[in-house]
C-alpha cells in the first residue's frame, strides 16, 4: 500500500482542494474562519454542498463583491457574503442548535494543536495577558458529526502541532476526526493517530517530526470521503 499521494508538501490552496474533494455529495458543512474558508473555493457545483454560517444561515454563497455587498448578510467572520437559492435564515439559538444537535456533517477548523486522541486547541494561546475570546469554536468542535482540522503540521519554530497532549487550553475533548496538514492527512480518535496519506514525505520521515506513534490507516479508513 502506497501512502504517499503527493511528491511535495501541499500549499494552502492545494490542501483546501484536497479537503473539498473529500466532502461527500450533499453534505451540510461549516467552514471555520481563516484557512478553512479556502475550501469553499474548491467545492464543485455537482457536490451540492450546503454551507452553514453560525450567525444564522444555511445556503451561504460566495463572498459578496461590489453592489452585492449587503450589511445585513454576513458570515461568521463578519465578511459580506451572498445567498444561494434554497437558503434559509434563523436566529442564533436555532442556528447553534443545528451545530450542537449534530446535524452538520462536517465542520472544518483551524488549530493550534490536536492531540493523538483528537483533543482540539484552537481558541486561546493561554498567555497570561491574552484577552480570551471563544466565539463559536467550542460549539463547532463538539457539534459536527466530523470535525476536520486544517493546519500546517509544524509551528514556525518547527514544533509539531500534533501532540501527545495539548499544552494550549482545550476547545473540545476527543472531537477531531481528521487533520489535514501540508505534510500528511491524519485520522485521530480514541485509538490514536493513523496516517491516511503523506504529502511529499515518507511515513518514516513524518514520524521523525511528530512526537506520537503513527501508523498507516487501514485500507478502509484510507478511502477519501
Amino acid at each position: 500500500m502506497d501512502l504517499q499521494t503527493s511528491d511535495t508538501p501541499l500549499g494552502r490552496d492545494d490542501l483546501a482542494r484536497l479537503v473539498a474533494r473529500d466532502i461527500a455529495t450533499g453534505s451540510f458543512v461549516n467552514l471555520g474562519i481563516g484557512q478553512p474558508t479556502l475550501v469553499s473555493n474548491y467545492l464543485l457545483p455537482e457536490q451540492n454542498i450546503t454551507l452553514h454560517t453560525e450567525n444564522g444561515m444555511l445556503g451561504m454563497g460566495p463572498v459578496a463583491e461590489g453592489d452585492a455587498i449587503d450589511g445585513d448578510l454576513i458570515n461568521a467572520g463578519k465578511i459580506p457574503v451572498t445567498e444561494l437559492p434554497g437558503a434559509s435564515y434563523f436566529h442564533h439559538a436555532d442556528s447553534f442548535a443545528i451545530m450542537r444537535g449534530g446535524h452538520l456533517d462536517i465542520c472544518v477548523l483551524g488549530a493550534f494543536q490536536v492531540s493523538a486522541t483528537g483533543d482540539l486547541a484552537n481558541w486561546h494561546t493561554g498567555a497570561p495577558d491574552a484577552i480570551p475570546a471563544v466565539g463559536g469554536a467550542m460549539d463547532l468542535a463538539t457539534g459536527a458529526k466530523d470535525v476536520f482540522v486544517m493546519m500546517t503540521l509544524l509551528t514556525r519554530e518547527g514544533a509539531s502541532k500534533i501532540v501527545e497532549s495539548c499544552s494550549y487550553p482545550l476547545t473540545g475533548v476527543g472531537c477531531v476526526t481528521r487533520v489535514y496538514t501540508d505534510k500528511a492527512v491524519f485520522l485521530t480518535g480514541p485509538d490514536g493517530v493513523s496516517v491516511r496519506e503523506t504529502l511529499g514525505c515518507t511515513l518514516e520521515e513524518l514520524q521523525e517530526l511528530v512526537p506520537v506513534p503513527l501508523k498507516a490507516a487501514s485500507a478502509t479508513a484510507a478511502v477519501g470521503g
Binding site: 442564533h92 484577552i131 482545550l170
Partner: protein, 219 residues
C-alpha cells in the same frame, strides 16, 4: 403593554443604573446603533451588558465601555482588532468579563425566555470555560450545566413591526433579536418600518408581539 414611541431617547428612558441590558447584533448586522447611542445619552451606569462582542471601534457599545458605564460584559468574543476600549478596561481590571461559548450564550438566552431553569450541554466540557461548573456524563458524553441569562432590558433591531408588535428581521441581522426579545423583561425594538395590525402575514412573524414592549422607528 406595547408602546410606540417617537424617539430612541424616550424608548430607553426607563433604563436604570445597575440594569442588565441585552444588545442584539452580530458584528454590525442587527446592531441597534441608535438605541445604544440613546442608552449612552440617558446616563445609566453600572450596567451588565449581554452582547456577542464587547464593542468595536469608537462607537456604540465601545463608547459605553470607554465611559465606564459597563460594570460587566457577558459575551463570547470580546477581543477583536478594534476592541481597544474593552481591552484597556479589562487590562486595567475595570470591567468584569463572563466569557461564554457562543452557542451556550444563545441557548442560555433562549432558556431564560422559555422558562428553563438550566440545561446540560457538551459544549465547553473539559475546557477552562467549564471550570467550577457542575458536570455530568450523559449517554457517555461529558456535559456542563449552564444557567439561563435573563435581562431587565433588551435593545434589538428588526426590519418591520406591525401594530400588534410582531416583528420580522432581515437576513443574518436576525441573529440574537428573537431570543433576546423573549429573555428580557422589557424589550425595545428599533425598526425601519411600521405597518398596520395585520400587515405581516401570521405565518411569517418571527417575534410575536407578546415579546415586545416599545417600538421606535429609526429613519
Amino acid at each position: 403593554m406595547l408602546n410606540f414611541v417617537d424617539t430612541v431617547q424616550e424608548a430607553v428612558s426607563g433604563i436604570k443604573d445597575g440594569s442588565t441590558v441585552m444588545i442584539g447584533g452580530f458584528g454590525n448586522a442587527g446592531q441597534p446603533f441608535e438605541l445604544i447611542d440613546a442608552l449612552m445619552d440617558c446616563g445609566a451606569r453600572e450596567l451588565t451588558v449581554v452582547n456577542n462582542n464587547a464593542g468595536q471601534g469608537d462607537q456604540g457599545l465601545a463608547l459605553l465601555i470607554k465611559e465606564g458605564r459597563v460594570k460587566k460584559m457577558i459575551c463570547s468574543f470580546p477581543r477583536q482588532s478594534d476592541s481597544w476600549h474593552f481591552d484597556a478596561k479589562y487590562k486595567a481590571g475595570q470591567i468584569e468579563l463572563e466569557l461564554v461559548p457562543q452557542g451556550n450564550l444563545a441557548e442560555r438566552i433562549r432558556a431564560a425566555g422559555a422558562g428553563i431553569g438550566g440545561f446540560f450541554t457538551p459544549t465547553g466540557y473539559g475546557t477552562m470555560l467549564a471550570e467550577g461548573k457542575e458536570t455530568r456524563m450523559i449517554d457517555g458524553r461529558g456535559q456542563v450545566f449552564e444557567t439561563p441569562v435573563h435581562a431587565d432590558v433588551a435593545l434589538i433591531k428588526a426590519l418591520t413591526a406591525d401594530g400588534a408588535g410582531n416583528l420580522v428581521y432581515r437576513k443574518t441581522a436576525r441573529n440574537f433579536g428573537p431570543i433576546m426579545a423573549a429573555a428580557a423583561r422589557h424589550t425595545i425594538a428599533q425598526v425601519s418600518g411600521i405597518v398596520p395590525v395585520g400587515g405581516i402575514d401570521p405565518e411569517n412573524v418571527v417575534t410575536p408581539g407578546i415579546y415586545v414592549n416599545s417600538i421606535v422607528k429609526v429613519a
